[in-house]
Symmetry: C2
Subunit: 490 residues, 2 copies
């Protein structure tokens, strides 16, 4: 029970003749007007003198009276509690006339953000198989290690006042920014200093922040990869950008198709989401040159660059030589856990002060306990260890899945080559009805996304996305057989 | 040293004749292009066979060559490290031509957000006295208790996949919302259910979220109290609101002065910031009636309502009967710690789905470890205990400060009556130059704000704000004497 009993009563003076009546009235009023909410425990009668200045017997009589009114319930051995009453929570009157910002009512934004939602509600933890991408196997995470280092790191919690508003603090905890700069230097060849890093509450906040700073509402055109990651384009659309979907082929975004007026170009160069292709060296050169020529900037979403299995380009697009035009977005959602809500931006020096000012206005800074915990997790080498471990696990899942797709599903589906990450996209052969198959699989408790979901414009590919973030080897076997059965029976 | 050595090299086949040369070239290239960042430790030569497929002697020769190039440094007993080179971090070229969203360049917004900043940089923790308001004495916080419950609560960290995108999760952790509903029911008479609560990353994010959902850019007029809390009006201004400052008198906001076209009215009814007055019962009735009549909504900022010392109105404005028009904003920044970045909204049912959708787009949800930690801190009764303790401390500080102001500063200053919180505003008597006094005090290492700082429009009050969040009794004595000395010498 909640130990709270803080309600302020206008208590009668000790020994007043009407003390009992006045205390009863006060408690009744406090219950009726909601100051004492349902479930709150009243002080035990044996302590009534201290709380109310009345005797135990008087308190017991008052409680009995309140119980008779239906306002409290007494449970032998555990005490007296405020009762749950019907209609206790006021029903708000409709305010459908209030003009909410229409951005949040736009179907493109609602759909983009609701992307994973519909099937998730009430989902039991172990039911069915889940091939949806961008999910993380939290069972693999070394939670005990994280608990240990984060509890220890919490000792460092800023005990000085005023950290809230210090400009340095708002760019993020310095130890974390140091660890981030070191980590992405080694794993992603992103050369930067801690002062180039701005800590955000996950990649989604980085997109929102970039959108709010880089977009002039109603004016700025933002080129996005199509297909792409819907919540990213939702952030830009919500900030008032005009969204220009651009085709993606085997070499990544088709740079020649980027509209002339695009001032912001959003890409996933390492492992395109969802197709999985890597932006070719030639396209990278073209893209950087185009951005410089047109005075545009590039937002690089490097959501799973740590999980690279073979070949392909190692580097992020944001090399030292592209530091002037590329905004690099990294996240701990994939390599640690999404529930930490921690990510970061590496931003050009010319934009960082404005981004930091905007971040202040959004929420001052990201939660310090999590920043300290992740910094400690990194500096103790636990992130590297976890990435090594999970990379091997994801590699095995991917190899197994690829082999099974080729062996069991080749009549219907063809995988798109990919060297990174936690999902494989497959294209459907002609006449294969993937939408119907996905619906059939959903009924069989196999969650799988069609490629069509990821398109902002008209889909150019028909296919499926096999995420293996939460599907282990046995799930993969079982799931592939379910997919085969569904496709074969179509 | 960082244990990471993850760089991928195109290694020569074992026994190749040019293995040594090729490995040298690869390492050199990786250092020059930044994949191997300064400070990274190279694998020990005794493990070179496993890492590089070359013998220890070959590796030692290569390291020697790299050291000769100035690319690595070897430290006896600790190993070989990538050297720090000059100009390693690329200097971004100027991009002053990129059209950033001009909102973030507006001086009213920059100044409102920079409000505390200028004096904060490089501030040593113990230098001088600090009377700035809205600072919290973190020394009083039971950090060991928080560490214990939060480490324990972390065991509950969502181990199921996909929590990220579940709609319920995005409104905030259910245990936390339950604890919040109970807490504000008892302490603030805000009757609500957990489902009415939306967890935010501090009050600042609640303001930003409300601004983005309630404001139609360029169209919506938002009435604010003047003087008021500058970062709150910055959030609304950044979302494109037209800001309408409204006078505050001894009864709170002057309801009759609220412009007819205001659709959003932002108030601090319990303890106006910074004046400290409480909105009178009559004004409350007027305000609610006005909002209903005009189809407007009210944003109630209840930043320190837990710290009530005597008399005045107990209730928040958002009673059950005003649940349709009031958006109640609460925060754990004052009653716990600002670095947690945790707050919440109680929103009318008609607006909650849209607010939740917008919150998703902003950052999906607030950091789960902190939500779990604060929920546990509350349900173990530690928040109540901490509030009881600090309320007594703040009460003593406030009584002491009030007494000293009346005894020592009465020739120049007069306190504004206030029943809550962590600061007292004082008005200056005619001909007292408070701005000059504040500057003089700043030189004497006493930080104090003038009331003028808090005005969006022309200041209607001249005075000072004495915050005692981080000033203890001895600071208060010393500070009041410093203020007296400054005022007396003017």
């Amino acid at each position: 029970m909640d130990p709270l009993f803080e309600i302020e009563l206008d208590l009668p003076p000790a020994g007043a003749r009407d003390a009992s009546k006045r205390l009863y009235d006060q408690l009744k009023a406090a219950i009726l007007d909601g100051r004492l909410a349902a479930g709150v425990r009243l002080p035990p009668t044996r302590r009534s003198a201290g709380f109310f200045g009345v005797s135990r017997n008087t308190a017991a009589a008052i409680y009995e009276q309140l119980a008779g009114d239906g306002l409290i319930v007494t449970r032998p051995g555990s005490g007296a509690f405020v009762a749950v009453r019907k209609a206790e929570v006021a029903v708000a009157t409709a305010r459908g006339d209030f003009p909410l910002n229409p951005v949040w009512l736009r179907t493109d934004i609602v759909e983009a953000m609701g992307f994973w939602a519909e099937e998730e509600v009430e989902r039991a933890p172990t039911s069915g198989l889940d091939f949806r991408p961008a999910l993380v196997d939290a069972q693999l995470f070394p939670l005990e290690d994280y608990r240990r280092v984060s509890a220890k790191a919490l000792r460092r919690l800023e005990r000085r006042p005023a950290a809230l508003k210090s400009p340095q603090g708002n760019q993020g905890n310095y130890r974390l920014r140091e660890a981030v700069a070191r980590h992405i230097g080694v794993t992603r060849a992103v050369v930067c200093a801690p002062d180039d890093v701005l800590v955000t509450s996950g990649a989604q906040q980085a997109f929102d922040l970039l959108a709010r700073v880089l977009v002039q509402p109603g004016e700025t055109t933002v080129a996005i990869e199509d297909p792409g990651y819907p919540p990213m384009r939702a952030a830009f659309a919500a900030a008032g950008a005009r969204i220009a979907p651009v085709r993606v082929d085997a070499e990544g975004i088709v740079v020649g198709d980027i509209p002339v007026d695009a001032r912001v170009i959003c890409v996933c160069p390492s492992h395109q989401f969802p197709l999985g292709v890597t932006l070719s060296a030639e396209r990278r050169r073209q893209l950087i040159a185009l951005a410089r020529e047109r005075g545009a900037v590039i937002v690089e979403d490097d959501y799973d660059g740590e999980f690279r299995f073979e070949g392909g380009a190692l580097e992020a697009l944001r090399t030292a030589s592209a530091a002037d035009v590329v905004f690099y977005v990294g996240t701990f959602s994939k390599c640690m856990l999404p529930s930490l809500r921690l990510g970061f931006l590496v931003a050009p020096a010319w934009a960082l002060p404005t981004l930091t000012a905007a971040k202040n206005c959004l929420d001052w800074h990201s939660a310090t306990p999590v920043q300290l915990g992740v910094a400690a997790f990194m500096s103790e080498g636990l992130l590297t260890k976890h990435i090594r471990k999970t990379r091997e696990i994801y590699r095995r899942r991917r190899d197994e899945l690829l082999g099974l797709i080729e062996k069991r599903l080749a009549d219907w589906l063809e995988p798109i080559p990919s060297f990174y990450g936690m999902h494989i996209a497959v294209t459907a052969k002609p006449d294969v009805e993937v939408a119907a198959a996905a619906r059939g699989l959903s009924e069989a408790q196999v969650k799988i996304h069609t490629l069509a979901r990821y398109f902002a414009g008209e889909p150019t590919h028909a296919g499926l996305v096999f995420g293996y973030g939460v599907a282990d080897l046995s799930d993969i076997h079982e799931g592939v057989e379910a997919v085969r059965a569904t496709l074969a029976s179509a």
